[in-house]
Amino acid sequence: MKQALALSPSWFMPAWLARVLRSPAAALAGGIMVAIVVTGVLFAPLFTSTDPMALSPDTLLEPSWVHPLGTDDLGRDNLARVLYGGRVSLLIGLFSAALSVILGMTIGMVAGFFGGALDEVLMRVTEAFQILPKLLVAVVVVSLIGSGLANEVLVIGLLSWPITARVIRGRVQVIRHEEFIAAAEMSGASWLRVLTRHVAPNVFSFLLVSASLQVASAVMSESFLSFLGLGDPAHPSWGLLLQQGQLFLNEAWWLTTFPGIALAMTILGLNLLGDGLR
């Protein structure tokens, strides 16, 4: 039955596109998207010679040859702002994802390896963190403690580890009973050595997937905080650009459309990459 249905033609999607989406090429497409964004952001001075903070009398101009993505209400070039804003978004995304992956890996490996009461306690804590509305917690923490890049990284990183911990724990529980672990333990290796030398290399591929998805989610979380006005105004990220765009939604479509495309392309690319690597 499934076979027959699978062969039925569909009018809204050409066969080649369907094949691409189900193949490793999806990961490739994700990789290309991420590469485009990273290149644009990293080599921003090559693509625009304008200072993203430079004011000019040309306020709220539509996209043109001089300003390919238009200008904002203070006459700043939107292309430069999108490119340099990406540096902030990606930097916060990378650092907070690194923090959450390291935390998640450690907690997941310990819980999966030792099992028992320790596992029970760690999993309850993980569950609690998953239930808590993480973005609202982040909002309250950043409003009270103060905004700034370091605080954003800390908050997002400390709140996002549960998913990684669960994935790694599941994987460790499987390999815990493999013979090479027993062999290492019998040859007198300490638990720390077994964990770092024998378990860790076997969760590495899962870690890669998790890292990719974590960066995507961290970039999203950062944009949420910045959109609520909790970003660092001295370092405007994509979320902050979208917050400013909201004020001019009626007059200047380019102020929300382009930073949003950059943001969505980054997140989609990383998600495709993560899904594909799996």
């Binding site: 249905l5 609690a128 909002v139 909201q246 459309t257």
Partner: protein, 323 residues
């Protein structure tokens, strides 16, 4: 039945009660950790000395930390979140005033997302591997990758600014004094875009997880048995397979409820919807910390309650996890 539900609730309370406690403790320590004097944070930027003294006495700020915490906890659990600095009245009454608007929008979005998400998930599981399935997977990955507020902004640009089909913001038409059905119709009209925006994220998640659970369920022996004994296709699909897959769906809805509420905050800002989300935004801007922490504790408690309910529903649906 009622005894079963009660027993399940008691068991889930083992997680829910410490979690509520943790939320209140977190808020308490954040207020203490924040730069400046806790009394100043609770009393605003330029309090009169009398008000400052009143706050100090009320929260026992001259007493040891543990007794301060107990006072704070007792207040929070009885719904006393302090006085909003801006509105100059109890935070709890400000929250209750805004709460219905958020419930209407979030509730509608959750119903839409669940119904459509389940239908899409089941349909694509039935045709797993087909082009339609691949298209749905791609679309849901895209939906999952766009920040909610940006989806809202795009919808405003497209359907409100450009096409002028739907209103861009608000809950009712400005200067209109509708009553009865006309009022309800007007609210529904204003709700189309925000509800669509808020649904996108949850819908794609529900579709993805339902699809995976359905593919799993359709592979089981009981489906083969049901097919062999001649059950109709729709009966096999819904009665036998989905009956088992829906546990996953309910779990996802419960776990993602916090994210949905956070999404509602930004969607309300984009659409000027007068609910809890706007309250968060205004509280951040006016540095109205009692209002902010109160709204936070209130929403977190709701998230915890919804999670507990979804856990109980799961256990009722699947006796295997009743334990």
């Amino acid at each position: 039945m009622i005894a079963v539900i009660f027993r399940l609730l008691m068991r889930r309370a083992l997680l829910a009660v410490p979690l509520v406690f943790a939320v209140v403790a977190l808020t308490f320590f954040l207020i203490r950790l924040a730069p400046g004097d806790p009394a100043q944070i609770l009393a605003g930027d330029a309090p009169t000395p009398e008000f400052l003294a009143q706050i100090r006495a009320e929260y026992g700020l001259d007493k040891p930390v543990w007794s301060q915490f107990l006072a704070f906890l007792a207040k929070a659990l009885t719904g006393d979140f302090g006085i909003s600095l801006y509105a100059q009245r109890p935070v709890f009454s400000v929250i209750l005033e805004r709460f219905p608007a958020t419930v209407i929008m979030t509730g509608t979005a959750m119903i839409v997302a669940s119904v459509v998400g389940i239908l899409v998930g089941v349909a694509s599981a039935k045709r797993a591997g087909s082009r339609a399935d691949a298209a749905i997977s791609a679309a849901s990955l895209l939906g999952y990758s766009m920040p909610g507020f940006w989806v809202g902004q795009l919808l405003v640009l497209l359907f409100a600014v450009w096409l002028d089909w739907f209103p861009a913001s608000g809950m009712v038409a400005a200067r209109a004094t509708y009553t009865g059905w006309r009022y309800i119709g007007d609210v529904a009209w204003h709700m189309v875009l925000p509800v669509t925006t808020l649904s996108v994220f949850l819908l794609t998640l529900i579709a993805r997880f339902t699809r995976a659970a359905m593919i799993d369920a359709l592979d089981q022996d009981y489906v083969l048995v049901a097919e062999a004994k001649g059950a109709s296709q729709s009966r096999v699909l819904w009665h036998h397979a989905f009956r088992n897959a829906c546990v996953t769906t309910v779990t996802v809805i419960g776990l993602e409820f916090g994210a949905v509420l956070a999404g509602a905050v930004v969607v309300e800002i984009v659409f000027g919807w007068p609910g809890l989300g706007r309250l968060f935004y205004d509280a951040i801007y006016r540095r109205d910390f009692p209002l902010l922490t109160g709204a936070f504790m209130f929403s977190s408690m709701i998230v915890i309650v919804v999670n507990t309910i979804s856990d109980v529903v799961c256990a009722l649906l699947d006796p295997r996890i009743r334990g």
